[in-house]
């Protein structure tokens, strides 16, 4: 009873604090949306969100991608410590396989569109990467392996690609006598597209890897073809 009362009291306090915070929020000192739109012409992207993510505050995005990479590295390290369990991937489901044939081209097209639309409309590398990852997860569920990525070195290369391209662009702007990640105006749009392309691949693969590295599996980070394995 006392616990219930305590929980109720805590709920009410937090609720009241939230209400106060929402209702009496201080006015922003600076009108950020206005500042972004007024300087949008200088950025390499026509869409305000993409401009903020990959031009004005590119450093934050760089660190975000690094965080994602570290998460995958930790998952890989944890996976190494786990004993290999029985195979459970690859549902023997003909329906899923049949649907995948229709769905996969659409998903890939969608990912490409989101990536391309990112410069002028809502979309971008993270969204495209997650759609790519969704198709990868579906493929894994249908029991299809990616032979090309069986090689751990290749897998890691693609995982690191996004961050590597990002850092390379940043360093090359440093070499060119500018600030870190301060793109020259003429090629800013192209640079952002290149970065986004690399990011899409890396983010997609990173998310698939997180799914792939769930504990009971035969092998570590690579993606073996599971059709030939016997199921328990």
């Amino acid at each position: 009873m006392i616990r219930l009362l305590g929980a109720l009291l805590a709920c009410l306090t937090v609720g009241a604090a939230l209400a106060v915070a929402v209702l009496w929020r201080p006015l922003p000192v600076e009108d950020l949306p206005l500042r972004v739109t007024s300087r949008l012409a200088e950025a390499g992207a026509g869409h305000a969100v993409t401009a903020v993510l990959l031009d004005f505050r590119a450093y934050d995005t760089l660190l975000e991608v690094a965080v994602l990479l570290v998460a995958v590295v930790v998952a890989m390290a944890l996976r190494e410590a786990q004993p290999d369990g029985p195979d459970r991937m690859g549902l023997a489901n003909p329906l899923l396989r049949a649907v995948m044939g229709w769905l996969l081209p659409l998903l890939l097209l969608m990912a490409a569109y989101l990536l391309w639309a990112g410069s002028s409309r809502p979309g971008g590398a993270f969204q495209a990467g997650s759609v790519l990852a969704a198709s990868g997860v579906l493929l894994r569920l249908a029991g299809v392996g990616f032979n090309w990525l069986d090689n751990p070195l290749r897998l890691r290369a693609v995982l690191v690609l996004g961050l590597a391209v990002f850092v390379a662009v940043g360093v090359s702007t440093l070499i060119g006598g500018r600030q870190f990640l301060d793109y020259p105006h003429e090629i800013a749009a192209d640079l952002i597209l290149v970065i986004e392309l690399a990011l899409t691949l890396s983010i997609g693969l990173a998310l698939v890897s997180l799914f792939q590295l769930a504990p009971p599996q035969h092998t570590g980070p690579h993606l073996p073809d599971r059709r030939r394995r016997t199921r328990r």
Partner: protein, 89 residues
Amino acid sequence: MIGWFDLLLGLTLCTTAVGALASRDLFRAIVLFMVFGLLMALVWVRLEAPDIALAEAAIGAGLTGVLLLDTLGYLRRRYMARPGREEAP
């Protein structure tokens, strides 16, 4: 101005959140969580943040749901596995 749609959306969002948290059946909780993610994406659209809505729908509802279901399957297998049955081929 809050329309009836927004009001309904907010109420449904809260209901699914409470349902996902309070459900004893874990599978039900996960499905409710995915529904919550999709509704949240709708809320982001209503708040004029389509970028976040896309990410929420793809990651919050899609991938997180798959990961949670995967974990649930793993836990169930661990729970079912008796010591004698561990050495199955």
